[in-house]
């Protein structure tokens, strides 16, 4: 197995932020509006806080095994066969998530622009580019994410400044009008948008920071960036659209960017939608990378080579992609994936933490 190079705290931030931002941003205000109404932004904010708890959880788990990555210590916690099973589950989960995100984005592209180009072709192109990126080491991956980071920054500025085209803060009022239960539902709906911080599971031992606390701090900064991004997006969308419109329009941000009209450039939305591929890819290649690493850790000495695993995953995803054509099916699968990811990113680490705590306590007792 290739030895993983160390990454800096800054690189971890960009990796995490880019992994968190995905296709969800496009539809978050829409999804939020259907559940939490005009209090979407509160739900998204609280959801980010919840994600922060999730980060602390993973960090805590990782700090028990500061020298090894998640896949390497699973078998140490629960024993060999179950550990391997867990790695297998994670590998499949990440490959599946990567496929789902690619498929969702392909769906958006198909609906907006490429009505005639075959779906598989776009999917294949996206999968290949993500697979190509996923063959690199963690450090190289961080470089790629850092370069792609430019795009979300521009997006953020464009979205935030679209407020100059007139917004109506009254759309946000009154706050919490229907009680907290829709907001709670909104928190659940928005949580999947924050998934991606689980990269820390693997990256923990490879981050060069002065202390454990600094690492948590770094992750928190990354999460805070994502929260700010999401909350601003939701605020802008809620103030610029009425609730009725938000419920009908699945990608409100795109409509907001149509506002920008310069003498030489008009549809910024199309540019946005297309160049958004870099943000989507940044999520997907991290997932493919995590999946490949999970499969490599099926044997403690390392099984197979990373790039072979990645291309195997890409092929599998491509074939599976043929079965995902109807939008409603896709959304159903996405809903299932949301549940699965909450289980795998929050539930399972909790269980592992408890087990390792018990074992640790037992060992100390002896």
């Amino acid at each position: 197995m290739r030895k993983e190079e160390h990454i800096t705290g800054r690189q971890l931030i960009s990796l995490t932020v880019m992994a968190q931002l995905g296709t969800e941003v496009l539809s978050l205000p829409h999804v939020g509006a259907t559940t939490a109404g005009h209090d979407t932004w509160i739900a998204v904010l609280l959801s980010g806080m919840a994600a922060q708890l999730g980060i602390i959880l993973i960090w805590w788990l990782g700090s028990h095994y500061p020298k090894r990555n998640f896949y390497a210590y699973t078998s140490q916690i629960v024993g060999k066969p179950i550990g391997i099973l867990i790695n297998l589950i994670y590998g499949t989960y990440y490959a599946f998530s990567g496929l789902l995100i690619t498929a969702l984005y392909t769906d958006i592209l198909k609906r907006w622009m490429f009505s005639l180009t075959p779906r598989w072709l776009i999917l294949l192109m996206l999968l290949i580019i993500c697979g190509y990126a996923a063959t690199s080491t963690l450090k190289k991956l961080a470089y790629i994410s850092q370069s792609f980071m430019l795009f979300p920054v521009i997006c953020f500025l464009l979205i935030a400044f679209s407020g100059v085209y007139g917004f109506d803060a009254k759309n946000l009022l009154p706050i919490v009008s229907d009680g907290w239960s829709p907001i709670l539902k909104g928190i659940y709906a928005a949580y999947s948008a924050y998934i991606g911080y689980d990269l820390l599971l693997y990256a923990y031992p490879y981050v060069q920071t002065q202390s454990k606390k600094k690492l948590l701090w770094t992750m928190s900064i990354a999460n805070a960036c994502t929260i700010v991004f999401y909350v601003v997006v939701c605020l802008v969308c809620s103030t610029m659209f009425s609730l009725k419109q938000l419920i009908v329009i699945p990608e409100p941000i795109v409509f907001i960017l149509k506002n920008y009209k310069v003498q030489i450039l008009q549809s910024v939305d199309i540019l946005f939608l297309i160049f958004y591929v870099s943000v989507v890819a940044a999520t997907v290649y991290v997932y493919f990378f995590m999946a490949a690493k999970a499969f490599m850790h099926l044997r403690s000495g390392g099984m197979g080579k990373q790039h072979i695993w990645v291309w195997v995953i890409v092929c599998a995803c491509f074939i599976a992609g043929f079965f995902m054509t109807k939008r409603n099916d896709l959304l159903q699968v996405a809903a299932f994936q949301d549940q699965l990811s909450i289980f795998l990113v929050v539930g399972l680490p909790v269980i592992l933490l408890i087990i390792s705590g018990l074992r640790g306590a037992g060992r100390r007792g002896v």
Binding site: S136, F148, Q263, I270, I274, V277
Partner: protein, 484 residues
């Protein structure tokens, strides 16, 4: 098994026989017989390689005046060596030395009286700048080393020579600053240079391809320069300079992507101006790769990007053009390449004429005959100009080539194709490394942008780049301390 080395026989006749046999077919090989003070001498040389006046002045005249003393003490030539082995003597004769044998001695004297044919140091022809030194390297390695030694008068400048090329025996000099350069890079380079086993080397092309990391990368991984001041600047960053006999181009390695956008001019002008030009070059990099592809996407996929007045203008210019935008673009880009190649090959006055003829005549006629739209002519011209803004010729050619796949992808997927292509380049660059140093590091902090994206003021660049000079980082101490 090592070949048995033939030792020199005391008899001149034997030596003469040996050489005559070896160089039987060489009509310029001469063996001169002399009797001085009753002792028989033989001079062996290639008359095309030696300077006969030097031999008269510093070898024959001293020998004639003091025939009894030892040759070592008499001959007043600095380049003086002795050998007892024929092989060494043969090698020396081939490389232009004169071999002297005194009868009765079992050794040969190798005297450097070779004819030095070299051109004088000229101003750089390929890397013009406005301010700063105007010296360029030449084909002679010694002169080049001389230039470098004069620029860096320090014992820290190490010059290591290698001989590469089984037949050509080309001398290669590797230069670095001992206290700055990373020894692991030197070791890697040493290992790679030693592994080269080839008949002859064409520098810098062969060396580049034989030691580079990624075999199929279009991007140059070595910086080639003919300017000693540029070489010095990189040496001071801990990089290694490789100079080859017979070529005025020296290789600098390991370099990063950003080095190809640096020009010595940047450091001679105000840092704001320098930074602006640096950004301009990067922008031109993007234009060269993306503009033709953008034109194709807009005119065949995403016209809605432009407001209606603009689209109407574009549309009307395309109205009577028969070719689809893809063919139109590819043909204009090819035309540009043809013009460029033609102007390089032709003698310079004719080259300029061709440029004018190509640029104006073809441009106008092609539009008037509705073969290509006038917008495309603008795009092609802009792309061509932008590509020549990049200071490194290797980089600018690579970038121009890259625009073709971009055009192809755009003609299939419009802007999405272009976006994917840019991502591909970005990933490719991030994955690449030269001599273990990452090739492309995105400037993510102010520290990283100091000499990459921007040309920060000299007083603010206190450190050398960490990748190539990991141990000795400080390059500037107490900047502008007179002010305090």
């Amino acid at each position: 098994m090592a070949k048995e080395e033939k030792r020199v026989d005391p008899s001149v006749a034997v030596t003469e026989h040996y050489f005559k046999q070896l160089f039987a077919d060489q009509s310029d090989f001469q063996s001169k017989q002399l009797f001085i003070g009753g002792i028989e001498y033989r001079l062996f040389y290639f008359d095309t390689l030696i300077d006969s006046s030097l031999i008269q002045e510093f070898i024959l005249r001293p020998l004639l005046s003091r025939p009894q003393e030892a040759v070592r003490d008499v001959v007043s030539i600095l380049d003086f060596a002795e050998t007892e082995l024929f092989d060494e003597a043969v090698h020396a004769v081939i490389s232009g030395k004169t071999v002297l044998h005194r009868n009765g001695e079992n050794r040969l004297y190798l005297l450097g009286a070779d004819l030095k044919k070299e051109r004088s140091i000229n101003i750089p022809t390929n890397e013009r700048i406005l301010r700063g030194a105007n010296e360029a390297f030449i084909e002679n390695l010694d002169t080049n080393l001389n230039l470098m030694r004069k620029l860096i008068a320090s014992k820290e400048l190490i010059v290591k020579t290698y001989t590469i090329g089984k037949l050509s025996q080309t001398k290669i000099a590797v230069m670095y600053i001992k206290s700055i350069a990373d020894s692991s890079i030197i070791d890697k380079l040493d290992q790679r240079l030693k592994s080269i086993d080839i008949d002859y080397v064409e520098a810098p092309g062969f060396i580049d391809e034989l030691i580079r990391e990624k075999k199929f990368s279009l991007f140059p991984q070595l910086l080639i320069t003919e300017r000693p001041d540029r070489a010095r600047a990189y040496l001071m960053e801990g990089k290694v300079v490789v100079s080859t006999a017979g070529s005025p181009d020296t290789i600098i390695l390991p370099v990063t992507f950003w080095s190809f956008f640096q020009s010595p001019d940047d450091y001679h002008s105000s840092w704001l101006v320098g930074s602006t030009f640096r950004l301009l070059r990067l922008f031109c990099f993007l234009i060269t790769i993306g503009l033709p592809a953008f034109y194709v996407s807009v005119s065949s996929f995403n016209p809605q990007l432009l407001p209606i007045n603009f689209v109407n203008t574009l549309q009307s210019s395309l109205k009577y053009v028969t070719f689809p935008p893809f063919v139109e673009t590819i043909s204009m880009m090819l035309l540009l390449e043809i013009l460029r190649e033609a102007t390089i090959r032709l003698a310079s006055p004719v080259g300029q004429t061709i440029g004018v003829v190509g640029g104006i005549v073809i441009g106008t006629v092609v539009v008037q005959s509705n073969l290509v739209s006038n917008t495309m002519v603008i795009v092609a011209a802009l792309t061509g100009l932008a590509s020549f803004v990049i200071p490194s010729y290797e980089m600018s050619s690579a970038v121009r080539l890259l625009s073709y796949p971009a055009i192809l992808l755009s003609s299939f997927f419009g802007l999405l194709g272009l976006a994917i292509f840019f991502m591909f380049i970005c990933i490719f660059l991030c994955q690449m490394s030269t001599m273990g140093v990452p090739y492309f590091t995105p400037p993510f902090s102010i520290k990283d942008t100091k000499d990459t994206l921007l040309r920060a003021p000299v007083w603010s660049i206190r450190n050398r780049p960490a990748e190539t000079a990991p141990h000795n980082q400080t390059r500037l101490r107490r900047p502008r301390s007179w002010k305090r």
